[in-house]
């Protein structure tokens, strides 16, 4: 319990610290910090409209965050989710426009599945290159992202272009009846519900099944995994494919719920934002949801800062950067010193397990050594 509380309170404290730094920053830049805070709250979370605004901006980020977090469980750093996302969107548009089925529900499922499939193949290839050729997955996924974006541009401006799309080269539109609707109870498209459900499933699978455990072993110590009889290669490819599927799915949702066609607007940076979110959530699928909402809220509030105080768009990027740095740095104060203080004050027993458990195994190595 104590540890859970700490894992919530420390990041919140970090956000508070970053807000103080941000206040200093805006004051130096000549803006009134208190007004800025009032507007940040109002724009992000101050009304039901603001909540819907923040949630809508958060929705696509949950899936692209998972695209980074799932492979990270197996010790893989995938930074090319953007490519899988746009190709997933392209695939969804292709089956949505030219697919044989036009019963809305079936067509929607096929679109989402094709998006996920193409995303899975795209990042799965990075897993395969890692396994079969020993190519670092970070660099291959980055290169594949650029290639994926070039392919999307090529197809929507070339062979798949709808002549009626004029100045916004796009595939033909998918039928209106096959578009996804709203998440029940919210003024937010279906992507929110899909994202939350997929995050919950990912969390449950990684937490409670042997699948999750095996992935952790592969990520923690591939040699031990091999000795234990795990086929490391399959797990690596599988983890990449699962992450890619999440990214591809998010692209499919963009097409089926927002754009109604594939075009360059799919290249929106959601895939890149997913990297930030996954690392901020320490690759915990459950934590990805609130982190995505926080980032979405800062985005929504940024609009308000622009409209009311004439601040540039970059203001909120600075805030996000500060919050991110503070949350990451707060990792350092977790654990022993707090425990000891708590123990002295309230007689709480220190936990025997280490505080920062498995998720970020990749990272553990250098930091433990530095601690020594």
């Amino acid at each position: 319990m104590n540890s859970t509380l700490e894992r919530i309170l420390v990041p919140l404290g970090a956000v508070a610290v970053s807000l103080l730094l941000f206040a200093l920053f805006v004051a130096l830049a000549g803006y009134p910090p208190l007004d800025v805070f009032a507007l940040l709250y109002k724009g992000g979370f101050g009304s039901s409209f603001s909540w819907n605004n923040s949630l809508q901006r958060a929705a696509p980020l949950i899936l692209t965050g998972l695209a980074v977090a799932i492979p990270a469980r197996a010790g893989l750093v995938i930074i090319g989710g953007e490519g899988a996302m746009v190709l997933g969107g392209l695939a969804a548009a292709i089956v949505g426009v030219w697919g044989p089925v036009h019963i809305p529900l079936v067509a929607q499922i096929i679109m989402l599945l094709s998006g996920a499939l193409v995303g899975a193949i795209w990042i799965g290839l990075c897993g395969w290159m890692r396994h079969a050729r020993g190519i670092n997955e970070t660099i291959s996924s980055l290169l594949m992202a650029y290639i994926g974006i070039a392919l999307l541009n090529h197809f929507v401006e070339g062979p798949l272009k709808d002549p009626n799309s004029l100045n916004k080269p796009s595939t033909p539109p998918i039928p209106d009846a096959n578009m996804l609707g709203l998440t029940p109870g919210f003024d937010v498209h279906m992507g929110l519900l899909i994202g939350v459900v997929v995050a919950l499933i990912a969390w449950a699978v990684l937490r409670f099944t042997t699948l999750g455990f095996a992935l952790k072993v592969v990520g923690g110590n591939p040699r031990a995994a091999q000795l234990a009889g795990l086929r490391v290669g399959r797990w690596i490819i599988g983890a990449c494919a699962a992450g890619g599927a999440a990214a591809g799915l998010s692209g499919a949702v963009e097409v089926a719920a927002v754009h109604g066609a594939a075009n360059a607007s799919l290249i929106s940076g959601y895939g890149n934002a997913g990297i930030l979110i996954a690392f901020m959530a320490r690759h915990n699928p459950l934590a990805i949801i609130p982190v995505a909402v926080l980032i979405g809220g800062i985005g929504a509030a940024g609009g308000m800062l622009q409209r009311r105080l004439d601040m540039p768009d970059a203001t909120v990027i600075v805030l996000q950067g500060m919050a991110f740095i503070a949350i990451l740095a707060s990792e350092a104060v977790m654990g022993s010193p707090w425990r000891r203080i708590a123990q002295r004050l309230w007689g709480i027993e220190p936990a025997t397990t280490p505080v920062a458990p498995a998720p970020v195994t990749v990272l553990a190595k250098s930091s433990t050594l530095e601690a020594a």
């Binding site: 830049a29 010790g75 750093v77 930074i79 290159m129 396994h131 079969a132 050729r133 020993g134 190519i135 670092n136 970070t138 660099i139 291959s140 980055l142 290169l143 594949m144 650029y146 290639i147 070039a150 392919l151 541009n153 090529h154 070339g158 591939p222 990297i275 930030l276 690392f279 901020m280 540039p312 768009d313 970059a314 909120v316 990027i317 600075v318 805030l319 996000q320 950067g321 500060m322 991110f324 740095i325 990451l328 740095a329 990792e331 350092a332 977790m334 654990g335 920062a356 970020v360 990749v362 990272l363 553990a364 190595k365 250098s366 930091s367 433990t368 050594l369 530095e370 601690a371 020594a372």
Partner: protein, 311 residues
Amino acid sequence: MSAAAESLGWLGVPLAVFAGAIRVSTPFMLVSLGECITEKSGRINLGLEGILVMGAMAAYAASLKTGSPWFGLWAAAGVGAAFGLLHGLLCSLKRVNDIAIGIALMLFGTGLAFFLGKSYIQPKAPNLPSIPLGFWTDNPQLANALNVNPLFPAGVLLAFFLHWAFRNTSWGLKVRIVGDSADAALALGYKIIPVRIVATMCGGVLAGLGGAFLSLYYPGSWNEALSSGQGIIAVALVIFARWQPLRCVGAALLFGGAGALGPALQAAGVSSGYHLFNAAPYVLTLLILIASCSPTRSLQGAPGELSLTRS
């Protein structure tokens, strides 16, 4: 056709690739050499993209205010060192992950540069001069291609120096040992954290200079779209170059040359499928990786402490 300036036709393509390799490669080269130093010490700094953008803005602003592009270089180096120090210090905290801090710095640096750089988009700041290495030729295109910015030869020399220094100086040895095995470094009595912080600062300085090259030489002005991912690609190129400074130069030249292919082919009249030509640097890099890597060989030269390449 008039004779005032001869058209090169198809010959223009290899010339453009050659010229592009020199012009476009410099930021890739500087940033990847910097990252090479950082990674050799056992840390990875993905934040170089943010430092590059911040360096570009600072250099342009300083050049504009002082009237001297050389001050711009100093400003970029200073900003790079400061960000490198920040990364180095934060990553020295317990349990703080270098990859994640790098991503945070990428965001922070970019945001800060955009915020502070608003008023520098429109004015024209003095640019860095170039060395006319093409003085011997009457061909204006070739002469222009051989107009080389001093940062390019400086980068190449630095690569040779690093290649030598990593093997032959006590400083190089120290960085390599700290990067390869913290246990061994401790046993030898080396202070791990200071070495890594200094190595990260060196990386930051070079990334800042890479940014200064963009804003003060090629293309030679500051705007928010200036970097199209040069900083992050350069980090990938270090892995591609297997942590060897000389290979970093090769990788940067390859990447710069391949990037010039698309525009050059179009200038010669081939423009259909241009998005695919423009993806050439990425495809080429990936193909070379596939051809040259094998599960056993790929991590040769990888610093043992590097979180990214842990096998």
